[in-house]
Symmetry: D2
Subunit: 335 residues, 4 copies
């Protein structure tokens, strides 16, 4: 009954997920690892009771003991590992991005469709966060009427040196795009990107950005990315409906009254904010795969759609224009 997982990529994220699968999640074990740096893979394996080290991801995927594959390697390698997993008929959890181009994502859609059932899940963890889930429940309950506008603010205290201006869209806002599609239950159809006066703390970037998206039915989505805002890692969202609004609440656990202020803490980084969501994400994935139900979380189609919206966003950032988003035909497998 225990799901035997093989992990490709044992960098920081891979190791964190290995810890999660072995010490937090019920019903899973890690039986194989591989990494571009074989030495690292060996060290990781030595801390596990019974894990084989493979020289390549492909070998790992072919290992008979491996029931399901977890891809945590460098983005450009995702396409090949996901396709190989599908070819082997094995469930595969792929950290974002699903692949780095629209065309590569399409190949995966085609391969999974040919296989005939869902094997692929993409790591959009926000869908497993209890706050976002409660927000979706409120929307779906009709308590605020039909959604008309969604405000999403994505604030990071700072970004690393190598962060480029495209990354505000491709790495940062991509989470807002996915969670919007999921919350509203429809596709994004157009995007504009407008840069505000630059934050002097990150001046080579265009930061903050405001992105105005439109869904297929006309809901407006307003995404703010502020990636040098210092005060905390703050993920905010408010849905404006016909008769009311619903917003993610601040999550501080203790109301502190000191120094003429009363308030709660804001998370310091994404780990602190989303650690519980990762735990739920993996428990649900393990349960679904182990039960034979297959992948039930974000699909290859979701990974593809996110990629297409990001492409349009980057185009809009450089052109200043409103760019339409054309997803093309949705294969039947994705309902």
């Amino acid at each position: 009954m225990t799901l035997r997982v093989g992990v490709i990529g044992t960098g920081m994220i891979g190791r964190d997920h290995i810890r999660r699968l072995t010490r937090v999640v019920s019903g899973a074990e890690v039986v194989a690892v591989s990494d571009a740096n074989e030495q690292v893979a060996k060290e990781v394996a030595s801390g596990l009771p019974d894990a084989t080290v493979h020289v390549s991801g492909e070998d790992l995927i072919g290992d008979e003991r491996v029931d399901a594959v977890l891809v945590c390697s460098w983005g450009p390698t995702h396409e090949a590992y996901v396709l190989a997993s599908i070819a082997a008929g094995k469930a595969v959890f792929c950290e974002k991005p699903l692949a780095t181009t629209r065309e590569a994502c399409r190949k995966i859609l085609d391969a999974e469709s040919a296989h005939g059932s869902r094997l692929v899940q993409v790591g959009f963890m926000r869908r497993y966060d209890e706050s976002y889930r409660a927000l979706k429940d409120v929307i779906d309950s009709g308590r605020i009427g039909a959604p008309l506008i969604y405000f999403s603010s994505h604030r990071n205290p700072s970004v690393p040196e190598h962060y480029t201006k495209d990354m505000a869209i491709v790495d940062t806002a991509v989470h807002d795009f996915d969670v919007t599609r999921w919350l509203l239950g429809e596709e994004l159809a157009a995007i504009r990107v407008v840069a505000a006066k630059a934050n002097s703390l990150g001046k080579d970037l265009q930061d903050p950005l405001l992105m105005i998206l439109e869904t297929a039915s006309g809901v407006l989505v307003n995404v703010e990315t502020s990636v040098n805002i210092r005060y905390g890692y703050d993920i905010r969202g408010e849905v404006v409906g016909e008769t009311g609004t619903a917003a993610l609440a601040d999550r501080g656990l203790v109301v502190l009254r000191t120094g003429n202020q009363v308030g709660v803490a804001v998370p310091e980084d994404w780990r602190q904010r989303f650690i519980a969501a990762y735990d739920v994400e993996f428990q649900e994935w393990v349960n679904a795969v182990a039960s034979g139900e297959g992948a039930t979380g974000p699909s290859a189609w979701d990974g593809y759609a996110a990629q297409v919206v990001c492409d349009a966003g980057v185009e809009a950032l450089y052109s200043g224009d409103r760019v339409e988003i054309d997803l093309g035909v949705k294969p039947a497998l994705y309902g």
Copy 2:
């Protein structure tokens, strides 16, 4: 139509009320002043368009131009000025205390009863605070069912050198006692006082104190005084009803997100917290007196009851016992 007020006592509070009557409140002017320090009274008068300086409060009360009297002098003098105002048939607003002993308060009740209509109002400004008024509205609406417990916290950042331990009851908690009687619409019947471990920032006092009072119908009232708590001047209150609770909200105007905290400001002192309540208190007093309706705010009976509860509280503080509060007969004038 303008109410001509004479002010006895031109210390800090007297001067603040003169500013209020002449520059904030509509329909009033200050036509006479007096003070134990005549020089101060003269300086204050020189800033007013047409104010007479009297050598005594009694002279001021006798001045024909004075329609109504405001008593802001030292506590022990209140009794005489209030009685003289009643004798003159003039409306009188007396800052707390109404008088410094139970017997003196009784004399005032008798004099006003003999006069036959209300002339006296006591300065319990919390009844004019918009938050307390909203709290009373909720209680009276029945939205939380019958009140069963009331928690009242009175927190000061610090107290002056001359503050003695009795003052936590007589000067500080007296406001909680009055506002409780008004919120719940009934008298207090017993009091216990328990001292917590002493705050090292004010160690010669017994601070904080917890007072457990019972109303005539059995509602429990829990008053906390913390008078060295540094973080702010924070007045809190929560009524526990049969089906819900209602509490004074924090009143900060701006939600600030900085330095990994999100929250609002807490007032620094009582002026900041209650300045608007004083303005409303005086506007309503001026309106009521000018219209011939007489005093409609806290009555001499309220001043008397507060005094009797304070006496019982001091006794309970020293004895450690539960002390019953016996107000005696309530004159018909006070309904």
Copy 3:
């Protein structure tokens, strides 16, 4: 020392301001009224101690007893009354709009400039609201760094039958435009307007709207108007700065815990939300005019700028384009 005010227009708003000047504000009286409907003006005057009824606004302005003029008549008449007041050298408080066209506003700027000192004040009451003032204090304090984005949400439960889609800009968002200019201390330079999916509760309008404005220095301003949102009259604003954010707090006075919810009340209408701001606005106007300081609040230039932004907004609504805002030369009087 009492400021004698003449009121042109005794409809609902005029009568409310007359009540305010005579019963709330200190230092003012209403000595003259006029209205297109003379019968109404007479009824209003009959409730005042000593007020003359004039057959025209021009007569009222010419009345020697009138120190200052308050214009509350129908928008298209404002220009003439303001110009006549300037010609008479009298202070004039004009409810919005200052005038209904850019050209008319320019005439007023020219006339007041020729006069050589400020006489005109425009009724943008939000600048007197304690929450907005606290927000401006935080911005000016530097506690959140330089402002980069401002989110302003203007939500009405419903609008009357005669409300047209332009009015979301000209009547509703105009307040957001003015308060943005004041909060940020700079001019608006461009505007885009995007309509969301229409609220079915007000479907002939384009409601809600999202307006994306840019200030002269590049701050982005995001104005949401939702004028059929049912849940309440809710005015929200959040400034995103370089290192933190500051937002208008909810203003409910009582935290209620009932029926598995904990929260505070949202205002039902604009009167409830801004009544205190109107009081402060008029007290400060009376003080400034009576002291000879002249008008210190929103100026004719502010009224003109609001008009020009509204014109651009309406153009952007119909064209779908980004429209630049050109205010032209600012007369020296407005520094």
Copy 4:
């Protein structure tokens, strides 16, 4: 490495913990069950992969496959099962109460002391709740200075028919007692109990109650139990320190603006409020026992102390007196 647990008592709570151990917690399996109703035990076992049904708890404890025992049976049976587990040298997790009398608890302390290391853990799950843990972190950080008062409110929407007035202390407030000892890191030394006016929704009980406790160092602890308050299951706590206060925050995930209210949800029952705490409690217990570290959570001493405080509380309820709490000598094993 997997911890093999035997579960005594397969009623509602036992079954919930079995689900938790097998489907939520990592590193455990359930290998044996027993219940007074053997039929129920068999049904539960049939849903598990490999669980033996024992006719008695003693047999289960003696089963070689059982590494650790979980006691979820009826309270009066706890003493015997815990003592048998100690005799067998096996770790035992006992739901509250540890035993139903002070003397029985003492026997357990003696037995465990004779064994020489900790085997017993008592089910006080609040210590695993993230909010209480954050509150303890704030206290320990010194950010609010030394604690002086602790307010704890325990509110239930309703209680079952069989709930008696002692149960407000023994079943309800016992959690407040334990969490207070843990938060403050010291023992409770005295207790008074005062009944408020009775809630008409539960009139045969004395409800609500106010309990005023004193710790060894003089901190006052104010426990309110309101067990018919309808609006929700609401666990509140505020520590008043020398320079500030810290309180459990409301935990609603979505801020809803509807019907002129803005706020968040309050939990409906204890499951909703503490489900995550139970998960953490068992994961940490499994980790500690499996690692050979033994029980690290609430000890037999904590179970004993809770029982002694409850006894004093019941005495205080009936007598109306202040009752001192005498724990006697603390065995060396409990530090």
